[in-house]
């Protein structure tokens, strides 16, 4: 283990570490703590210049109620779900298939297609912006959540394929071989042998894609204009423009917008990290 376990150090070092740990955490999360505190700050505090001190009272309920009832944020949140949930399902379904094809079969262009997906993942969004926006407009999907969903599915499939393919490659191939000898059809091999083994990969990708798509801001501004389809990231930014200096409301809105991915992360932490660190531990 590196660095040396702190338990083997002198008592003063252990004590220092124990004190340092929470101090470092508070410093690290200071921006978030500031926002959380401000979201429960009474409006009067801001007028009096008390931006970062201890709130003079607890106004969390008023602030959050104000944000939820006097702004379209509830609609924005709902839109984000309308975009994120179908994207997660679509991208995972497609990438289970592509990942299976690329991991199990030997055919020409196999590595070529695989690296096409991998490379597609890294390109700048701007190179897609004008044509995708134009295509979405012409298809009548501009300013709809469906327009966003279709793009996100296509793009996330690239990332998910990389993950799925590597995951299936790690499964014992003998399982598939023996089923083939038995004459089981390829679809049934996929459906009944491989798919059940893919649960951890599916869980990992579901949280990752959820977080990526929920937090997307660029496409939300490019493919959507109106309130009725706008996801919470873009919505929050436009609210920020309206609530000049109403930091307590902006803060409450930010917390609301950040909550779903954060909750997702805490519920599925193990899978989330397994997905992100794929490839970071071997090679």
């Amino acid at each position: 283990m590196f660095p040396k376990p702190i338990q083997q150090s002198a008592p003063w070092a252990r004590l220092t570490y124990k004190v340092l740990l929470p101090v470092a955490l508070v410093l690290w999360l200071l921006p978030l703590i500031g926002v959380a505190l401000t979201s429960v700050r009474p409006q009067g505090d801001l007028a009096a210049g008390n931006y970062f001190g201890i709130p003079s009272g607890f106004a969390g309920i008023e602030n959050y109620t104000a944000v939820l009832t006097n702004s379209p944020i509830a609609t924005y949140i709902l839109n984000s779900f309308k975009v994120t949930v179908p994207t997660v399902i679509g991208a995972i379904a497609l990438s289970c298939l592509t990942g299976f094809a690329l991991a199990v079969y030997r055919f020409r262009f196999n590595l070529g297609i695989f690296f096409l997906f991998v490379a597609g993942n890294f390109i700048p969004f701007q190179i897609l912006m004008v044509p995708v926006r134009d295509m979405t407009l012409r298809a009548g999907l501009y300013d709809t959540t469906l327009g966003l969903v279709l793009f996100h599915i296509a793009f996330q499939t690239g990332f998910c394929t990389l993950f799925m393919r590597n995951f299936i490659k790690g499964l014992p191939f003998a399982l598939i071989e023996s089923a083939r000898v038995e004459g089981v059809s390829e679809w049934k091999i996929f459906r009944h042998i491989v798919l059940p083994l893919m649960r951890p990969a599916i869980a990992a990708l579901a949280v990752l894609v959820f977080t990526f798509v929920w937090n997307d801001y660029f496409w939300a501004t490019v493919l959507v204009q109106g309130q009725h389809a706008m996801p919470v990231t873009a919505g929050l930014y436009s609210l920020n423009g309206q609530w000049v200096a109403a930091w307590h409301l902006v803060s409450a809105g930010s917390i609301i917008a950040a909550l779903p991915p954060v909750a997702m992360f805490f519920l599925m932490q193990k899978h989330f990290i397994a997905g992100l660190t794929l490839g970071a531990t071997k090679g």
Binding site: P5, Y17, L111, V118, F122, Q126, I127, A154, F155
Partner: protein, 302 residues
């Protein structure tokens, strides 16, 4: 099963195995083709045109690129992209440092690790709003701190000299968290026998880190490098949220410059925007090709 049927099955198998991968690939590949591959080619095509996005396109050849060479904002963007690239790389050693700090077995350490990862999970829009507020002259904690340090009030986001550094600092926060997670996973898989053997030989502290630990962390470093370089060139959200490229275009980066030219109140200049996107794409391709070649070599060695 009769002999004949069994024979038929076997003889049909090679065909089946030839077709099957394409059937499995079809839906995903088709979506990817429509939404990613074809648009890349289209963008190149559009970049040779003058186009407002609605009317007819008119061919102007290299016109957009020639104009780009004369555009001051283009050079500011390039320079800022370079700044982003170089400074963003700090998140790698910073992430390693945090990972080393947290790589202990004490009570509650798992909660600490996940709390440190928090900045990466929340949207860059929220990060941008938070930092804008932290920089706010007069009351923002970072601004107050700087005033105490230098005796001067500095409006970071309104000052052409500091604005890009201010935005990059905000970007380093989530990116460091990401690199930290990569390194924590890598540290988890360190060969403990090698570490013990090196310890016997008297290696410790920095020399141990440099000669024993870092070579074992190479996969983590590689991934961290990939995501950080790509992330720095993609930087859009924070610039858009915190300054919209301002003041006077001084915090522009290629990605935001392109967006502004193609979809802003100044008029829809799709062709010009596309030419900026092409430049960004070509710069990125240099890195992507390098990364992919390395991954491909790894793949072939297995």
């Amino acid at each position: 099963m009769t002999e004949a049927v069994a024979h038929k099955r076997v003889s049909r198998r090679p065909n089946r195995l030839k077709l099957a991968p394409w059937l499995f690939l079809a839906p995903g590949l088709l979506m990817f083709l429509i939404y990613v591959l074809v648009p890349i080619v289209e963008s190149f095509w559009i970049s040779f045109h003058d186009w407002d996005g609605l009317g007819a396109m008119s061919w102007i050849g290299m016109g957009n690129y020639v104009e780009l060479l004369d555009d001051d904002t283009f050079y500011v963007s390039l320079w800022n992209n370079l700044l982003w690239l170089v400074l963003y790389l700090l998140s790698i050693p910073a992430g390693l440092a945090v990972a080393l700090f947290l790589n202990q077995n004490v009570a509650g350490i798992r909660i600490y690790k996940s709390m440190f990862f928090f900045p990466f999970v929340i949207s860059q829009v929220v990060v941008g709003l938070i930092f804008t507020w932290f920089y706010a002259p007069g009351f923002g904690p970072l601004s107050v701190f700087l005033e105490w340090l230098t005796g001067d009030e500095i409006a970071i986001l309104a000052d052409e000299r500091y604005v890009t550094y201010g935005i990059i600092l905000a970007g380093l926060w989530p990116q460091t968290a990401y690199c930290m997670i990569l390194y924590l996973a890598g540290l988890n898989n360190i060969n403990s026998e090698q570490v013990e053997a090196a310890r016997m030989d008297g290696a410790k502290g920095f020399s141990m880190l440099w000669h024993v630990i870092l070579p074992q962390l190479r996969p983590a470093t590689f991934i961290a490098l990939v995501v950080t370089v790509i992330g720095s060139l993609r930087s859009f959200d924070l610039v858009s949220i915190m300054t919209a490229g301002g003041p006077y275009g001084s915090s522009q980066v290629l990605s935001y410059f392109m967006y502004e030219q193609a979809l802003s109140e100044y008029g829809y200049r799709m062709g010009y925007g596309a030419s900026i996107a092409v430049v960004l794409f070509l710069i990125m391709m240099v890195f992507i090709t390098f990364f992919i070649t390395r991954m491909l070599n790894q793949e072939r060695n297995i």
